[in-house]
Symmetry: C2
Subunit: 338 residues, 2 copies
DNA sequence: AGCGATCGCGCACATACGTGCAAGGGAGAA
DNA sequence: TTCTCCCTTGCACGTATGTGCGCGATCGCT
């Protein structure tokens, strides 16, 4: 868990900066720094840990302009989106994989955020995992807004959602706006009514003004199906409808098909997530995907043009490309013998 | 010494990026990375060293908006320049101090540089030291140009100057333009004549188009007097002239007084360095100073408005402020009893 | 093909680093 | 004032990391 935000202990921050400067810019050993700063080596070790975890020290990996991974390049070319591949061994468990992708995503996130931005956050296991690994950055007037409700008929889920929002707010000194509605309504008319309420409108307006949206994807076929599918949010007959409608996944509770279509999926009328047409007006839409079982869902999201920036584990990236390749083969096979 | 530039071994770079990602973004131990990458732990250690030294991993210290060091703030306010204080213990030797300031400066430098820039480099012990600690960064079409000649009546100094330029060029994939003239001419007319030559004009034109200038300062009073004063560049009667003219220091062989004046110092007619009026048209002028014995020189340079960004060791920064404070006291003492 | 030079790799050792634990010290409450 | 609680510090230990050295592979030259 990251240390408390730094604004309150100016003395400690100064010492941490000095130690960090000596360690990272002058290559001194902690021992030498301890002598210079008249304290023990272990205190310096802790001080440096503090400096890292509070973002005073910022460690970035920069791929020398796109020559880094041919996988990244290939996806970039094929789908026209910026991609970050997260190296994860193929034999890693799904939990491990998610954790590692989200840790990497969290640490790359500050490249995308800046002061005065409105940032939309989906609610789900991906976002929760990311929120645990954020590295603070000093920003002003950042607003985080929840994209989809978290409640179901058993729990409001609000504690988890608000915990996640709080962590984002803490890390970037921003404010956060909860969206205290159920993930899915039983009756679309309730949603319509609530959507006209001014308190709801405030959230929706904020969503409409987003500069960045951050989300994972759901997949009904995933080895670890997303919250949405197992949390008691949907009834058996809802699942049947999903099946009939050939849904391959969802983004913040809004469902889509393999070809990216979604407008005529009735379940979406009851979903709390943002209208995807509107989501697409957000300039940057960062999608974090972990696990090859989500590739079908991802392809749907890509077809729907929901994603501008993708963070994905290596194995899934490979699977994504392969599935795209085999499409082409099928297509051309289809063409040569009509 | 930094590793060779990375463009030539794409495989090694890819591995280094992967290792760096796993180490810095996912917090794995080198041991774990070695297992994932099927190699030995020591190879990973070396690979990470490579990644750091080639700038694939970029470690920055960010002061949370100006709350960092009150010294930095104070100098900022008093002299209207951006300042970076380098922490160095007071008892450090002059060589140590220079080395550490220059290492820090080198590692901060990439903040200032970008593609397509023209960068002027003075020639002296400060710049040579900086050049030894540069961290590479992938840029395009950067041009480095030498600001002052290096030759004297005993040696051309060209090998050292070109070595320094080469290191800059290597680190930022730029080209470099030497300035193969003596530091000081014996006869100002020779300089005038040479300055009309087209080959010289090319260099001077480039200097006129600089986006960034990087230089140390000379001081005739410094504990370790700068190259200029001990390298056999000046005759005994030149020193007398400096004394008479009340010179306190030089920037790239061009001398100035405590009040910042320099136009009427005749020695400057024979100097190879840039006209200071012209230097001041360069948008960013970064000055690196190490050692309190250069404070008088620095004050002259500040009075002449030669500096927009200052990198200085802590002790000297303190000395600079104190000297400025005592001026004010004297001034006000003068005012209360006229 | 044979030979030497050169490079990269892993081993093993020395050093540097992170962290549980107990003691010290300061702030707040009684 | 005194007691208590909590936070911070340094110690000691185990782990993680850096590096000199020797071996084997590779490349180029004759």
């Amino acid at each position: 868990m990251p240390n408390r935000i730094d604004a309150d202990q100016p003395e400690k921050v100064r010492e941490a900066l000095r130690a960090a400067h000596l360690y990272y810019l002058q290559d001194l050993t902690m021992d030498a720094i301890a002598r210079e700063m008249h304290t023990s080596r272990s205190s310096i070790s802790r001080l440096l840990g503090f400096a890292r975890s509070t973002g005073l020290v910022d460690i970035q990996i920069r791929s020398p302009y796109r020559g880094s991974s041919s996988l990244e390049d290939a996806i970039q070319k094929r789908f026209q989106i910026a991609t970050h591949i997260v190296p994860v061994p193929d034999h890693a468990s799904n939990v491990d994989r998610l954790e590692r992708v989200c840790m990497s995503a969290a640490r790359m996130l500050d490249r995308y955020l800046d002061s005065n931005m409105v940032v939309g956050l989906a609610w789900g296991s991906t976002l929760t995992a990311i929120s645990r690994h954020l590295v603070p950055k000093e920003l002003h007037n950042v607003q985080f807004v929840q994209l989809n409700g978290a409640g179901n008929n058993q729990t409001t889920g609000i504690v988890y959602a608000s915990e996640m929002l709080r962590r984002f707010g803490d890390a970037y000194s921003g404010t956060s706006q909860q969206f205290p509605v159920p993930a899915f309504f039983d009756d679309p008319r309730t949603k319509e009514a609530l959507w006209r309420e001014r308190s709801t409108r405030r959230v929706l307006d904020m969503q409409a003004r987003m500069d960045v949206a951050l989300f994972g994807l759901g997949s009904p076929f995933a080895d670890v199906p997303s919250h949405v599918y197992i949390g008691g949010y949907l009834e058996p007959r809802d699942f049947e409808m999903l099946d009939e409608a050939q849904v391959v996944g969802d983004c913040a509770t809004v469902f889509y098909r393999a070809d990216g279509s979604y407008r005529d999926i009735h379940l979406n009328d009851r979903a709390s997530g943002p209208d995807l047409d509107q989501l697409r007006r957000t300039p940057r839409r960062i999608c974090v995907v972990s696990g090859a079982s989500k590739v079908a869902s991802l392809r749907g999201a890509l077809a729907a043009k929901l994603v501008t920036d993708l963070v994905i584990d290596e194995g899934s990236a490979r699977a994504l490309l392969e599935s795209a390749m085999s499409d082409i083969e099928h297509a051309s096979a289809h063409m040569v013998k009509p």
